[in-house]
Symmetry: C2
Subunit: 397 residues, 2 copies
């Protein structure tokens, strides 16, 4: 074999997830896609706001020379200025265009940040459950990924986090609202985390960075507040995108917002722009960058997701599933009635219900249901969810 | 300092290029941009073909549900099928959709390929002059970059290449048509390279990959042929984009075409798709992917670049500059009349003529002129090119 050993291993590790995905395709061919209940993918449900297409049309009609050409690697100055003004309000800190780097989605933003920060063997710590790609993102840039257990209901376990910090810790990476749990960290949690990181940064004489991956910031329920890490902690960076806010994940448009308080301000900001270039992203897609300034503050209808959340939570609660009601994002992360959640997910699959085992998120014993699907999919899957649950409880799985 | 040492070093190393870029901005503010002759950037000159906007309009009017959503990480099947059919002709090998991975430009394509192939300390060899980012792309993925000298007129130096190959060599990376030299390797060169790589692969019992970075394939002059590496060598991969063919570099749309003869076919193809995901690209921008099938075979008017090439070459030849006439791309790479090309580039800058020193391309003693500019820029810069050339030859610089 001649490709990289690490890639080979990753293919082997992820192969059972892919096998399930391929099983899903087979199931849909066999039973018709309306009879398969696919809760595996985080593809936004509502169509983008109409304004998106109005703005694209306007760009096409204006037809400005060079509109599809290169621009500075950080993105159009106009786009970054508009974002900085908008985000100064959102995050409660004074941001200028130099604090913003436009990226190919939040995935691009995180890789640019980690490339910029990590020396070989530097550690990145994330609480469980975490987005499946964090380990790969960290290892892409020579870092070591460490996860720490959470309290019940996915609350941040600060003592565990403190224990995990070492002289090699370069960053703590949080994802709130969380994929897969829907947890949003409260203000007191963020403040306590900031206090802890400040103390450890002072002790080590260098900053431990706080990175917040928050593409679901706008998708929250019941008046939930998403506290600003930029306001709470000087050495912080937000990685995010418009993928979920505007239902455009395929267009790869996101950004980094860097704290104005970064200890290594200028050089860190230059580093982010350099990394955006040398990682081959070069710049975020031009056309999307051009329309973003007129879409700030616009979101898809969040009530659509709230209705789906309630439909799913009410249905599963009535059956007896145990879970923490999501405060944001569009995932539910229930406990598996079987200790081996892979076995449970396979039993659901036998009823044409496709979900994702928790171990990919660092949380075996749980499974993820992405409820960014049609209401009918949720309702029609309930008999299957019930039958498999009862079998599991009766020891018949 | 707390960001990665390697990023800090890269910022420091590139800082004089950036300083010149910033000087250019200052010059334009001071003298007016019409009085500054900026030949530094490879931003395509003609506007994109009109059809591009017609097709975007059509997509917007069709307004298909999910058109901005996630698709498979490799890209839309329809797009890859259309590309495979088109490229089977272009490259002279039978390609299917599984051989194509849609990427965020050629920069994305190269990073995905190198991530997939490189084990730590694996070597990547490229002939001089090479695109400035190749070293960074290689080191992003733990590899070691090695360059080999070329013959006169930028011809491939096969004995030097053979000498440079070691048991750690994972890939040879060529760029033809070349940025910065405009050189296109002839068919006999590619065949001889293939023969050499086959022999060394057999000797080592594992493939040495041949990677061709060819975003300028469609921009060639005087009937120049760009031979297909996929037809010449089984373990080959093409990394390319529509950036130059369609003048849309800001939109980040490109692809990998993998040889159907890859020794590790299936696993290598899976690896490319995995790398596209875990590097955070996730997928190439959706809207651009949707319109690409109707743009295959469409190019900007290449005669525009030919006219600019001839204007520049005729002007500089009359002055006495020595250079190899470009066969493709839109760069001229003349010899500097001063051994220290940075000093010469600075002397040009004093006449408001902005060019790039050759050392960034591994070729000190040369400098790059990007002629993707208005004809007037070329013509109006000639007196300055002449004055500085004469001073240099007279020893007065």
């Amino acid at each position: 074999m001649s490709i990289a050993k690490k890639i080979e291993e990753s293919i082997a590790k992820s192969s059972w997830i892919r096998r399930m995905f391929e099983d899903g395709i087979r199931l849909k061919e066999q039973y018709g896609s309306e009879n398969v209940f696919d809760f595996t993918l985080g593809n936004p449900f509502p169509e983008p706001p109409e304004k998106l297409h109005v703005l694209i049309q306007k760009e096409i009609i204006d037809n400005k020379p060079g509109m599809h050409g290169y621009m500075p690697n950080a993105g159009y100055v106009e786009t970054r200025q508009a974002l900085a003004a908008h985000l100064s309000d959102v995050y409660g800190v004074p941001l200028t265009s130099s604090h913003i780097v436009m990226t190919c989605g939040a995935g691009g933003a995180l890789n640019v940040i980690l490339k910029t920060l990590l020396d070989p063997q530097d550690e990145v710590i994330a609480p469980v459950p975490f987005f499946v790609e964090y380990q790969a993102y960290t290892e892409n840039h020579g870092g070591v990924f460490k996860s720490v257990a959470s309290e019940s209901h996915f609350a941040l376990n600060l003592p565990a986090l403190e224990q995990a910090i070492t002289p090699k810790t370069k960053a703590v990476l949080i994802n709130s609202p969380n994929n897969p749990s829907g947890k949003v960290y409260e203000r007191e949690t963020i403040d306590a985390l900031a206090t802890l990181l400040k103390a450890r940064s002072t002790a080590y004489g260098r900053p431990i960075y706080l990175i917040s991956d928050e593409p679901y910031r706008d998708i929250v329920y019941d008046g939930t507040e998403v506290p600003s890490i930029l306001a709470a902690y000087p050495d912080s960076l937000v990685a995010t995108s418009f993928s979920k806010t505007l239902s455009i994940p395929g267009e790869r448009i996101g950004y980094i917002a860097a704290s104005p308080g970064l200890a290594d301000g200028t050089i860190a900001l230059e580093g982010l722009v350099l990394s955006n270039r040398i990682l081959g992203y070069v710049n975020a897609p031009a056309l999307m960058q051009r329309i973003i300034p007129a879409l700030l503050g616009v979101t898809v209808d969040i009530d659509i997701y709230k209705r789906k959340r309630d439909l799913l939570c009410d249905g599963l609660a009535a059956i007896g599933y145990e879970f923490t009601k999501p405060m944001g994002a569009f995932y539910l992360f229930p406990e598996s009635p079987l200790e081996d959640e892979v076995a449970f997910v396979r039993a659901l699959q036998a009823k044409n219900i496709l979900t994702v085992p928790g171990r990919g998120f660092g949380a075996p014993g749980f499974f993820r249901i992405a409820y960014c699907v049609a209401d009918e999919t949720i309702m029609n899957a309930m008999p299957g969810f019930e039958e498999v649950f009862k079998k599991a409880k009766a020891g018949r799985l």
